[in-house]
Symmetry: C2
DNA sequence: TCAAAAGTGTTCAAGCTACACCCATGA
DNA sequence: TCATGGGTGTAGCTTGAACACTTTTGA
């Protein structure tokens, strides 16, 4: 910082990449803009950073505005700052990504804000550089999920190992041996057998587990190589 | 982004964490501020983002102002945006970290800007939240260096395996078996034997290698588990 | 009773760990 | 000739990959 007599104060946007998992596919929550520019086109949920508002607080606010959720997994991804990225006025966007349990979010609120869930493999055109943001977020998710057990953030409170297996296949977009996967997950000791069985299954019912949250929190950073890609 | 009629335009700072390696210890390049606030105290090299200047370009400019170096390893780390992080005026800082070959930088230029290299284990007090930035950058370096072969960015053009070994021990701050390390490094196929020998060594002279830059570039992302921590 | 999904077991190869040993060099 | 640092080898264990088999359930 060279001097505080500096003329260039810039608009700071916050954009949120919101991941969800519906049991089969990895999903992204996008909004249809009802304001210019790019009115009627799809974009990430966003907002501007307010005066006296911490960056992370702003991101939480933007996320809650669309989903109603607070205290969910929310991480800073990257800041996008090409000088021409916004055609109206220069805007630097600090980008966050969030992993939510899709069952928990306020779907009425989301609809009221023109929110819509898209398959990650079937996204519409996005405004500005938002596609680039999404691509990076997916890479980061793949990266992180290989090192730390963050996949659980996308699951409902009760889940079976086959469900979790589907999630990881969705994240990485390729087949993962279910038997090796199962052993690996169970060996972490993060799952608690609830004694319940999955009722959805048409054939053999799968055991429902819940996450051992105390263990998850305390050992989160001890997992360096959670999953092989 | 809700509307472009938004009043809060904010100063955007760029701060650079500059890592170097002197053959023994991991180092950080800091500057002594000769301007207020915090005049006379140590800080990261920084500057403000200019109008019409891309973020990455700005970071490159800030780095070059102190080191004279261009086209070196420079990565965005995180954006720091607590509303009270700067006592004079709200400033959001986009933080970058850089790995440089300490031999290559313009030491006269650095000195002229009040730059000084510090041992990572023996840092002075830093202004604002710069200590937090440094701590995060080290964690990120440890993280990244475990997954990708970025350690080479800190080495001179010619280097021996024992030198590289010292670097990794400095990065992780603990002992690494030199024999296993050597085998692991050689097995990557990234090193080219130059036929030369290290002249510094007082006892047996070590083989000098250079990095196979073509292989390094093309296979960079193929290394997922470069090194066990 | 049969198909499909879920749980458990086994084998093999690769890679990592923890060592020991030998070689080259300058004092 | 000896201490020091550098290069190479090896045994054993762990881990992951690639498999097959059994069990449960609804149709």
């Amino acid at each position: 910082m060279e001097s505080y007599i500096h003329p260039y104060r810039i608009l700071i946007a916050i954009d949120c990449i919101i991941f969800g998992f519906d049991g089969q596919k990895l999903k992204l929550l996008l909004i249809k803009r009802n304001f210019e520019p790019e009115k009627g086109n799809w974009s990430l949920m966003g907002g501007f950073l307010n005066d006296n508002e911490d960056l992370e607080v702003g991101a939480g606010r933007v996320l809650a505005e669309l989903t109603g959720l607070e205290n969910v997994y929310l991480e800073q991804l990257k800041t996008f700052g090409k000088s021409d990225r916004d055609p109206v006025e220069r805007t630097v966007s600090v980008c966050f990504y969030s992993l939510i349990n899709i069952e928990d979010h306020d779907s009425q609120l989301a609809r009221s804000k023109n929110g819509h869930w898209f398959d990650l493999n079937d996204l519409p055109n996005l405004i500005f550089d938002h596609k680039e943001m999404v691509d990076l977020a997916l890479k980061e998710l793949q990266y992180k999920a290989a090192l730390h057990p963050i996949g659980f953030e996308l699951m409902p409170d009760l889940f079976s190992i086959p469900q979790l297996h589907k999630l990881y296949e969705a994240i990485y977009g390729h087949h993962i041996d279910r038997r090796n996967f199962s052993r690996k997950i169970l060996s972490t000791g993060l799952l608690l057998d609830t004694g319940l069985k999955n009722e959805n299954s048409s054939t053999k019912k799968a055991i429902l587990y819940k996450l051992d949250k105390a263990k998850y929190s305390s050992q989160f950073n001890a997992f360096h190589y959670f999953m092989n890609i």
